[in-house]
Subunit: 430 residues, 2 copies
């Protein structure tokens, strides 16, 4: 009899790491599996390439016999096949919540689901990418963990490092929500607030990673970024498995760098290629969501161009505020290829959508989730999204982290003295 906490299922046929090389997304040049994120030939971004034969040996039964977290997909990831190697809070297998009430309000007449990744250990999808990145990083010999972050990533790196007993150093923009600052600082690692935007912080980290003082340091979204990005694939695998090994016809995904969207699409493609699922009859369509204060990818789609013009982000959806999105081009490609679309929502629409989601599903999302639900609403209204097709909308973070966004909108409906008379006076008794 197996204990639930025993995360060591036997997966004899899939115990090897299926990753084969780092492959340039631009020119196709290949590199060994080291800590490198850009191509020496064309400066294009690298991503993990797999041994397709190894992937093709993975079965549904292998996965279903695995632990109740993202490591059930270890045979499809570039790290963590050996449970003892994992640097992890064991995120994943978050709820796929049926949302009939939300569907009814929006006029969607097919099944609508919310993939609620606020249920991860530090309450955002970042726990997925961090678990994969830090597991790869420890395997590569790094002894300190770091990141540039808009908040959720900082929480996750600091918590992972605390659990693993490894030093961490986290770089954040100086204007983050207090919730995200405290929730990083409490784990006790170094926390460096930078007087600048996320893009400034990211540039600084790209410089630091080249210094001698940081040669022992894995920056999860810089020098080990190819491994990091692969963690997002699990948000595709899980939805397919939770639907009974089916791919939904439509998915709506928030975009910051654009990478999450491309990796969910990649996950669906992989599942089809290796024969674990069949594609829907008309394929799947990928929709991207941004805020009006930071919409460079959606703006490029609307303008019909591949030129993504960087912006200086504004607005309440801070976890999506990447003004110069590294994977924007690839997100455009995925959306165009699948016949999807992109939209953006302003702050008032985001706040309304947070409340709409909460009162119809019991899921309290952070501003990024508000963006996605607001965009879902717009896509239905404009006819870009088919209300007769099964749809999954991704909530990537927890409302408690961005309480200020709705604190002015909601509160007690009554305030009374503790007596029956007072309760009667406000009309709660006949």
């Amino acid at each position: 009899m197996t204990s639930i906490i025993d995360a060591t299922p036997t997966q004899p046929s899939t115990a090897a790491n299926p990753a084969r090389a780092l492959v340039c997304r631009g020119c196709g040049a290949e590199y060994p599996l080291v800590a490198q994120h850009a191509c020496y030939e064309c400066f294009g971004p690298l991503e993990v390439g797999y041994d397709q034969a190894a992937l093709a040996r993975v079965t549904r039964a292998d996965i279903e016999a695995g632990p109740q977290n993202l490591w059930r997909y270890a045979a499809l990831l570039p790290a963590g096949q050996d449970p003892a190697s994992r640097v992890t809070l064991d995120p994943g297998l978050t709820p796929l919540v049926a949302a009939p009430g939300l569907a009814a309000e929006l006029g969607i007449r097919a099944p609508l689901w919310v993939k609620d990744d606020s249920a991860n250990p530090t309450h955002s999808f970042k726990d997925r990418v961090v678990s994969v990145a830090l597991t790869a990083a420890r395997g590569l010999g790094f002894t300190r963990f770091a990141c540039a972050s808009t908040g959720n990533l900082a929480n996750s790196v600091a918590a992972h490092a605390a659990r693993a007993g490894v030093p961490s150093i986290v770089f954040i923009p100086g204007d983050l929500e207090q919730g995200k600052v405290v929730t990083t600082a409490v784990y006790g690692g170094d926390l460096v607030a930078i007087d600048g935007s996320y893009d400034d912080v990211n540039r600084l980290c790209s410089e630091l990673v080249e210094t001698d003082e940081f040669e022992d340091t894995a920056f999860v979204n810089v020098n080990v970024r190819p491994y990091y990005a692969e963690g997002s694939k699990t948000l595709g695998y899980e939805v397919a498995e939770q639907l009974g090994w089916r791919i939904p016809e439509q998915v709506v995904i928030p975009m910051a760098s654009g990478e999450l969207l491309t990796k969910i699409d990649k996950a669906f493609s992989e599942l089809v290629e290796i024969g674990l699922v069949e594609a829907p009859a008309n394929g799947w369509r990928v929709f991207g969501a941004q805020s009006a204060g930071c919409n460079p990818i959606a703006a490029a789609l609307h303008a019909g161009t591949d030129v993504i013009t960087p912006v200086r982000p504004t607005g309440i959806a801070k976890s999506l505020n990447i003004g110069d999105p590294a994977a924007g081009l690839y997100a455009l490609e995925a959306v165009r290829r699948t016949g999807g679309w992109m939209e953006y929502a302003d702050d008032d629409e985001i706040r309304d959508a947070i409340q709409l989601l909460a009162r119809t599903t019991g899921v309290f999302a952070e501003t990024a989730g508000g963006v996605t639900v607001a965009v879902l609403r717009k896509l239905v209204a404009s006819g870009k999204l088919d209300p007769e097709a099964e749809t999954v909308v991704y909530n990537t973070g927890e409302g408690l982290k961005t309480i200020d966004a709705v604190a002015g909108q909601v509160g007690p409906t009554y305030r009374v003295k503790p007596s029956l008379r007072a309760v009667r006076d406000v009309g709660l008794l006949g």
Copy 2:
């Protein structure tokens, strides 16, 4: 092949409700399974009595074949055997986190675990009791859900009602942390702030429940309290199952009403009685934790009396601030019977313990979790808790809900301009 979200395993031998009657904890009088919480004979509290033969038919295999949430224990609960009957966010099966770093800092030389119930859908253990209470309530014909709450319960009732599409009305003290107010209000039910303490709110609800206007309303912790309380048993069942069907030698549990402690102890006793686990060779010992600002149960234990003197609560551990604890006597009984102890911690000790837990385990607890870890530390220091015996400490809530408690303690370790020179100037580069 079964979908993960299909929470309908076949449990043919255990599909019947094992609850038999409501039984007075004072005089033993029995009542049918209705909405009643006090004995008509002696005014003692009622609790659910079971058909022991039905419980004894439950096997480990039945449970292990169940869903990955608390409903795997439905055959040991007074509601929810039929999945379609459940009013639920599917809480439970939260992580049991190994805490070797915390053990080392405290001088504990046996396995130490943190049962992290902040991982529940609304991030506290209250999702457990609310799921059971509201499922029972709907079965009893109630059409509106209500509670008196210090915050976590309010969040949970409002979210459950939103998911189920049922109206809710939640009564809270007027001075709650903003996080808990917003996180209730956002779900869209009625929210009534009462100018008074939790005990005032609770008294008011006891009056309201008797009015005609509220006869359709289940107050989860008043008229359906016996069902509600049983949900806490799952925190005992899960720990035993997650340890590979073993009961730990020592458990440290926060106390508000004292009910959680008594129900975890009851769960262990049931598991032994029905033959699912063996008791540890020397039994298990139950330890209770309160804050210095609200310590009526611990004070009674220290004074060697059964007289629990109500207090007016103060201090930052608001989710534990019940000055007149309904189950205090039974908590005293369990602690004395098992050879445990109770301790209390002041606000500074609570803040320190929140940080200690976070930096050694990656678990960010609300103030109640700080209370429990601070008390664990005191129990080790005083020799009341055996550092050579396996111990589980319960974290019942999420740090994001009580950020203010540590916001003054932690923050960025550095604040710099976005340049290598600035980073060098603060000493991060050699």
